[in-house]
Amino acid sequence: MSHSKLELQVDAYLDGELASRDARDFKAHLKECPDCARLHDARVALGAAIRAEVPALRAPDELRTRVRAALRSAAGPSVTRHTTAPLGRRWLALAASVVLVAVGSWRLASNRAAGEALSEQVLTSHVRSLMPGHLTDVVSSDQHTVKPWFNGKLDFSPAVYDFAGRGYPLIGGRLDYLGGRPVAALVYGRRQHLINVFLWPATQGPGREPGETMRQGYHLLHWTTPEYTYWVVSDLGMAELREFAQLVRGADSAATR
């Protein structure tokens, strides 16, 4: 039997791919044939070395999150349509009432349209960020790496916090473009979920009131501090996203105190 045939036999035997009778015969042959016995021992050692040194891997959490989000997004609007429509209308009603009190009825229509356009942009940006290679320009769980990365890229220095201790680790940041201006996008994780935080310097005028909405299965929160306008978006549940927003607001007010 040629050498390569021997190797095939030894491998198939060790892999349990020989029929039971062939396996019995080959086992008997191993006792009589030093060449095959040597090959057999070498293969056993190789197998042990591969198992010890070349591990099967665990997918990173980031990938798990990305894949889930991409699937939801690709599965299309029919998956989320049933739940989004009523909530969307409810938010519109809320936004409308807030705007009404704040700026007067004559600006109602245009502000509502502007708010909706912005939340649409925020959502689009979030979904785009979940596509391969779009999530982060700077990958770091260290706020002291992420914050300086924005230097020279924006006309403001965004507040960057890490809430890893609270279960919302910082993943990184990137530049994005919203409402006609470059903005900071910070990425945080929560188990399998990703949270995008968009912020830019607050401007005077309407639309400063906090709000929350749901679009296409994603939750969006926004609020304005004296310094920044914040938008937060994720497929995370609204309760947890509110908790996260509260952490950001708490850290903000602690920083400016």
């Binding site: 095939l8 198992r51 391969p132």
Partner: protein, 180 residues
């Protein structure tokens, strides 16, 4: 897609994310490429899920790995990551070497370190059978389903791939022994 259908897809195909990532990681040899390949493969899998006949999570593994594998090979062609590497040639890459030295069975620590390197240097067609068999425990039949070749070819590729790894390890050991 119906909501139930996405749920079914997630139940059958998502449990194999680790296996998908492992295969993609060893095939692309690059962390980010592996992640992109896996995501791309999952989106393709979702698209073709209509044609999938299995009902349980266990059924989804070989099916998904076949898609991951094909996605990785497409990427490799598209981005020419293996520029300079010869196209795979079953005959050429299957040349055998005369004998296995008895001491090849004795793998020292230094030889183990070079195992990764030896695996990286295998043609992807050999690397994938090693990953599928040694790391994921697929049967020859399943490996044939994933790679789209007959069981006989799986057998010979696996045996040749192991032979190459073994010789690479042995050569590394031998080289060290002759160092002053």
């Amino acid at each position: 897609m119906e909501p139930n259908e996405l749920g079914r897809f997630e139940a059958i195909v998502l449990p194999h994310l680790d296996a998908a990532y492992t295969l993609a990681r060893y095939l692309t040899r690059h962390e980010h490429d592996a992640q992109d390949v896996v995501q791309d493969a999952y989106l393709r899998a979702l698209k073709y899920f209509d044609g999938f006949r299995g009902a349980e999570a266990a059924d989804g593994r070989a099916w998904l790995l076949a898609i991951v594998r094909n996605t990785a090979f497409t990427w490799r062609r598209r981005y020419r990551q293996e520029a300079g590497a010869a196209e795979f040639d079953e005959q050429l890459h299957s040349e055998t070497v005369a004998d296995v030295h008895p001491e090849a069975a004795l793998l020292g620590a230094s030889a183990r370190e070079s195992l990764h390197q030896a695996l990286d240097q295998l043609p992807p067609e050999f690397r994938e059978v090693i990953v599928l068999r040694e790391l994921q425990g697929l049967s020859y039949k399943e490996i044939g389903d994933v790679t789209g070749v007959p069981v006989g070819t799986v057998m010979s590729r696996l045996s040749r791939a192991r032979g190459r790894l073994q010789r690479a390890l042995y050569a590394e050991q031998e080289g060290r022994r002759h160092e002053p």
